[in-house]
Amino acid sequence: MSVTPLLEIKNLHVEFKVYGGVLKVLDGVDFRVNVGEKVGLVGETGCGKTTTMKAILRILPVPPARITGGEVLFKGRDILKMKERELRETRGRGISMIFQDPTAALNPVFTIGAQLEPVIRHASPENRRLSKKELRKLAVIPLKEVALADPERLLDAYPIQLSGGMRQRVCIGMALATNPELLIADEPGTSLDVTIQDQVLRLLQRLVEQRHSSVILISHTLGIVRQMCDRVYVMYAGNMVEEAPTRKLFANPLHPYTRGLMAAVPRLSGGGVAMGIPGRIPSYLHPPSGCRFHPRCPQAMEICKHEKPAFQQAEDDHRVACFLYDPAVAEPQKEATTA
């Protein structure tokens, strides 16, 4: 596996301005995807996974969202500083995204064809010169690829006329229609029942293998991540708390939050993940001081209430943001307990 970084997020901060104040939703996120790599991102609902991904593509609704700091380097260039033209070329062809809820991601008042054709038109400079007829012919291809029957007729259908599984396939087809170098898949199939979810995931896996795309797979179902990803990030309340190669993470989870996640029985249907950890995600309006996990952490120490742990290496390719593994903090503590 090559280790050329494709996407690198450094210290990303995002805020949401709401009626009652400012929500600090992303609080210094670090993240990296190498060329050809499949990276998993896990965490409870509302921990900022989707926000991170939307920030990458600069598709967060502004207002209320605001990116207040950090860098998003795609092939060495900062997406956050790109001009409209460069940004447009990065979106789609560079990075594309499958949204969590296919029903919300499809515009209800346009046919599938009317939504797919402009995507294909702007997928390459040559396509821009195509006639409407030729475009329509091209639009059939991604629908065929996601194994949808009768793609010709589907182009004239409105999203409301399709089943949930079909909409999910259409969304995958649209996201892959641009042949992206990096595909973000945000909890694909969560809204579907288990058998169809399984089909959709297999399909996605096959299509990605064919294209050798890099992938970011977001999920709160650990089993799926374990099965599909090379490396996994764990996220909690707007921070990355742990990162390791998949096998290593599942064999030896370090962060108390990750351990809690593993202890909660992973179920295919999703949801219920937080069962093993008492409490819930804190308010972003008044986030806990220090480590944001400390109010729920069974091993919280005094320092966790005041200082934010750095996201640093515990072993060579295993990073964690926890004072338990900070030699400067953990060692003197151990000595104190043994003495």
């Binding site: 939307k54 409209e84 070329e89 789609g92 402009p118 409105y158 641009t178």
Partner: protein, 342 residues
């Protein structure tokens, strides 16, 4: 096919509503104190003339029978004689209605263009200076009665700045184009009479603006609200994520879903415009149906009042069916639901 079923169902409903409306109007006309026959012939007419007329007008019959005669006459376009103009009410309506429609359409045009334009501007610069300016304007538009706007415009643009004429549809001395459609602007255009066209437009602007202010404010508020809500939707984020240029995102994928809310209240706006025209036409001495109706109301001219309300009811219902059709066309969710339900 879908559209046909839709129209058929709406038309059935419309006929029902119109029948109901005609009953309401009939009741209003009959609770009027005094004897319609006596009012028609005047106070000095001898008793036997009144009695003869009562018989002729079916006033001695029970109310349901009276209603039946009144309705059949109305369906034949016979609303009787106007007490004010001493002419056939139907002829009066034919003469005055186009002027009102011309005014209402002009004001609807202003409403649509300015309302949607300002709303879009506001949504795209949400919470910035320009947004606040538009919001203040639309607030004032909503809370100010149309007759106050009419007086303010008359005062400011008509008298103080002297930019626009203050009464009627055409200046004195300007040759009137032959009546074809009844719309002064279109008739002038058809006749190739550009002096009249320019003059007619000049006369139209002030009353149309006074009429449009309230509805325009409403449209701007609704456009702003639905646009800024839709901007946060996932389908906008998704189409952006696929690399579609911003121009297409805004002008196509955001505009269409956002306009549905705006267009669906346009029917109400049009009707509201016709209602407010009752006051605005009075102030600008606009020779339209509303001014005719207003004069009929002030002089208790029942035949004219009934006819005017019935005509406006028909217009309102037809406009709303058109609006519903347009909305169903734009929004497949509504179109499919309408065709599927019962």
């Amino acid at each position: 096919m879908r559209t046909l079923t839709f129209i058929a169902r709406r038309a059935f409903h419309a006929i029902f509503v119109l029948l109901g409306l005609s009953i309401v109007i009939f009741i209003i006309a009959r609770i009027m104190p005094g004897d319609p026959a006596r009012v028609a012939v005047g106070a000095r007419a001898p008793e036997w003339v009144v009695e003869q007329l009562r018989e002729q007008m079916h006033l001695n019959d029970p109310l349901p029978i009276q209603y039946y005669y009144w309705l059949t006459d109305a369906l034949h376009g016979d609303f009787g004689i106007s007490l004010v103009t001493r002419r056939n009410v139907a002829d009066d309506i034919r003469e005055f209605f186009p002027a009102s429609l011309e005014l209402a359409f002009t004001s609807l045009l202003i409403t649509a263009v300015l309302g949607i334009g300002l709303g879009t501007l506001s949504a795209r610069h949400k919470d910035k200076f320009i947004d606040n300016v538009v919001r203040v304007i639309s607030y004032m538009g909503v809370v100010t009665p149309s007759f106050v706007f009419a007086i303010l415009f008359l005062l400011l643009f008509g008298y103080v700045l002297d930019l626009f004429p203050t009464i009627g549809r055409l200046s004195e001395g300007v040759p009137r184009p032959p009546t074809v459609t009844g719309f002064m602007t279109i008739d002038s255009l058809l006749a190739g009479n550009f002096t009249a066209l320019f003059d007619a437009l000049h006369h139209l602007i002030l009353p149309a603006m006074a009429l449009a202010m309230g509805t325009m404010a409403q449209e701007a508020r609704i456009t702003r609200a639905s646009m800024s809500e839709n901007l946060t939707k996932d389908y906008i984020a998704a189409i952006r994520a696929f690399g579609v240029p911003e121009r297409t995102v805004m002008g196509r994928f955001l505009l269409k879903p956002s306009l549905i809310a705006t267009i669906s209240i346009m029917g109400l706006d049009f009707a509201g415009g016709l209602a407010n025209a009752f006051l605005v036409e009075l102030i600008f001495v606009w020779p339209g149906l509303s001014r005719y109706g207003m004069n009929a109301i002030l002089r208790k001219d029942l035949n004219a009042i009934s006819a005017v309300i019935l005509v406006l009811g028909v217009v309102f219902i037809v406009v709303n069916i058109i609006v519903d059709l347009v909305v169903a066309r734009l929004d497949p969710r509504i179109g499919l639901r309408a065709a599927r339900s019962d």
